[in-house]
Symmetry: C4
Subunit: 296 residues, 4 copies
Amino acid sequence: MMTATSLNSDLWPEGRSAALVVSFDFDGPTPHLWRSRNEPPRNIAELEQRRYGPRRGIYNVLELLADLEIRSTFFVPGWIASEYPGALNEIVQGGHELALHGWCHESPADISAGQLRETLLRASDKLAEFSGAAPRGYRSPSFQMTGESLEVLMELGLRYDSSLMGDDRPYRINDLIEVPVDWSTSDAIYHRYTAGTISPPAGVRETAAAWSDEITHSVHHGTLCTLTMHPWLSGRPARIEALREILQRARDNSELWIGTVADLADHVASRPDGAEAARTSTTHVSLETMEWPDAH
Amino acid sequence: MMTATSLNSDLWPEGRSAALVVSFDFDGPTPHLWRSRNEPPRNIAELEQRRYGPRRGIYNVLELLADLEIRSTFFVPGWIASEYPGALNEIVQGGHELALHGWCHESPADISAGQLRETLLRASDKLAEFSGAAPRGYRSPSFQMTGESLEVLMELGLRYDSSLMGDDRPYRINDLIEVPVDWSTSDAIYHRYTAGTISPPAGVRETAAAWSDEITHSVHHGTLCTLTMHPWLSGRPARIEALREILQRARDNSELWIGTVADLADHVASRPDGAEAARTSTTHVSLETMEWPDAH
Amino acid sequence: MMTATSLNSDLWPEGRSAALVVSFDFDGPTPHLWRSRNEPPRNIAELEQRRYGPRRGIYNVLELLADLEIRSTFFVPGWIASEYPGALNEIVQGGHELALHGWCHESPADISAGQLRETLLRASDKLAEFSGAAPRGYRSPSFQMTGESLEVLMELGLRYDSSLMGDDRPYRINDLIEVPVDWSTSDAIYHRYTAGTISPPAGVRETAAAWSDEITHSVHHGTLCTLTMHPWLSGRPARIEALREILQRARDNSELWIGTVADLADHVASRPDGAEAARTSTTHVSLETMEWPDAH
Amino acid sequence: MMTATSLNSDLWPEGRSAALVVSFDFDGPTPHLWRSRNEPPRNIAELEQRRYGPRRGIYNVLELLADLEIRSTFFVPGWIASEYPGALNEIVQGGHELALHGWCHESPADISAGQLRETLLRASDKLAEFSGAAPRGYRSPSFQMTGESLEVLMELGLRYDSSLMGDDRPYRINDLIEVPVDWSTSDAIYHRYTAGTISPPAGVRETAAAWSDEITHSVHHGTLCTLTMHPWLSGRPARIEALREILQRARDNSELWIGTVADLADHVASRPDGAEAARTSTTHVSLETMEWPDAH
């Protein structure tokens, strides 16, 4: 089995063999607010269920990260920053990165490019009130994306996007660094249960086993593992403790680099790229290839 | 990791570190009757499947609780009390609490405030025939809720509601104590299989592992774990025995308080609250914040 | 924990403590034919997938039962008997019971009482060609049932029905013995995957663990466990071998009676009943209580 | 338990007791392109997610097969061959078989016989550019099939189809050899998660256990196990390593033949058939019996 080191010794920061990004989409009730914007339900159960995030889960998450001395990236809708300034201050004080996640969790495939630009500018200003600097990256709500949205991200001068799944290592789309995600290491699909959901949430042992396997084999293959989590889900006691075990093991693995999305994107940006040599250097795909092809 | 004790030594009754509430929604066929009220199906299979609860499951449940000397809260629709008086008498004789669950499992988001008031008053009178006193709390069918419904509960002078998921410790909504629940410790989403359901029921080993983990980490975090079960589901032999193992372990843990929802709510009501210090005392949220916010 | 023996020493045949019924719905493609009767699909994939049952699965099942010397009940639609006479002969030669399952898997809630009577008479004649005697019991397709259908079964002079879930021991509905089933011990919900199904099939280890737990605790509670399986699903190699392990353990348990549904129903019919003493004798419910109640 | 050897010593190649086929549907984004052909979505997330296959997954797969010296069959839509010639060349250089999978993943039940013929001829020419010879077999997208489509396959002179589930050993449909598949050993139903999917992907340990059981019992029963996988799913690091363990064990089992679908089909074609002796020789079913029967 080839490792990143044998392929290319500077693929990951600090000469490590593989990378782990621990990221949180701190969205609280905004996905529910956005989806129900045209007809708010009388039922407030899910709204309150999601408030567990800013009320309790975020503090459990921050405590865990502090205990393990891991720096994380928090993708935060502007509205959340506006409503829960106390939580935002604690995130910044913990040394974590703040990045864009819309104003109220707007899905880029459901709004125009103009609306996307407007909500991101507004959210950028709001997040900068806490971090003192403009956010440098974006994660799209629900991992949706359009070619036009990628253009907006470039126009806004962002360094990175972290929403797509086309590789297991960061890649370039024109001037943007794509730090890929994966549904398999996203907590929502395992742990989100709201009224009407069909399958029960996975037990923490199953998720812990699955994610540990992902990290282990990521190290063997010299790839990136991006954990995407939500304080209202992964911030609950049993899940926080399962996550503690996973992250403790990861932190003790000296082959693995762990850090923020921005730090990883900066490292990648400093390396040469080569679309022709996808297996030995950073893949470069052009924005045009993102569009719908003619396949018939 | 902070424990409830280090935070606030009187958070839980008897100076314990955490709390476990073992509660049953004894609803039998009423959810099916309510959902199908406008067009009763010809097919009586689910009706009969749910009758396992009042016919067999409730007695398995009561026997288990008696064996383990655990007092539980039974949320019982008035119609069930009316149809199965023998079971109700055994619940009361076992020293358990009776509390409100509608007349025929009416979801509060599907009826008016006036209808909610009417069905709860009627059910309250019916339950009082067995317990000798008016019920002091309410759990909404399917964990649904509206702001208006919370007002009705307050008007009726109830001490507590146990339907929301906004915290992992009891909290105050104006004068009402909210004793939160959690889908993850609710049997229906794991074990309910009726014709047309998509996923098979979870095995008892999986649920036992998941719930044991929830209780264990609840103790570590100083939080509340509320088990919500149904006699027609959890009253079946294999599940009763899995539950026996879970509850035996819980009962042997001296850090854990186990009791009825009413007893816990009374304890919380006797403590000072402080919305500004959510992590060290009882959180107080106002009824207005329950409503749909303007997020755009 | 009470056992059946302490309650009532003749609850089960041969003075055993509990009972296991191993039953097969040998329906092959008929559920698909019935559901698609109004617009047969161009796609024949599911049709062929289900033919695995009569082509291969049934022989694996019969071999297993012969190896373990277990007698089983096969519920067979008349059309299957007509199309696969070789398989029917082998079932009868194996000493197993043939019982009714419609002509082409007609769901009783979807047809009139007259149609149900007609299809069952036709199927009864067809099955009698193989077994030499009229079938004595019925299992409804998909465990559906109506009050009117139960009347038809009684008019046809059947001894038993095996389609409902209202108890974990056989019970009486007027003159009919109901030998209850349970979704949790039905293979279809775990193992049926056809195009468009949402969840993948359960692994055989999970099902084997779940069913073994059901049988174990059935013995402890003195109840009935009814396995409901399909040759096109459970007849595949990995599942047959998992079933072999389950049944070997069951057969080695001297507290457990194993036999056909007809033999169990005859035993129950020979015992006194008593609706008032449901926990110590056979429950008797009247046909009228099967109907939709007025719950409001 | 009978084994293939005791039944018929030349059932499998090289006198082995059972057979394993390791096959890949290398379809990348084509299923998504085909399904969305009438209204391409703005959202490009799934398109990019599926590009993981040709960009990364295929190379992980090929490396694994080379490490284990296993020859595999790749079913490749013509459009994929056209877009990713580099990957196609590596497949051929690895000694693997190329076979038909439509031009752009057209489901045979959704197009006419004429369209099927046209797309397969076009794809056949494209694949021959790489392999130097016309493909000899077909696997239908999504395992769909119609009687008319089987006729087209015969008209095109194909040796085999590998899309149906009516047996656990190859069988004949007129002059075509059917090498059966099974949903239970198909990665998509366990591991495919795209936006909107209901259940999370299975963990690799669960799938590895389930597939290992399938292979083990296949050997005991003397049957065929066909693994159907996709590079964009099974090509990810954790799944590749789980697959490595499964295949290493299989390769070390001297009773098991492992090879391409074409090699297996050729072996079967060289044996006598006998519809009357399905359990001891190759089953022969006629094309007419594939059609929708009159079951009422």
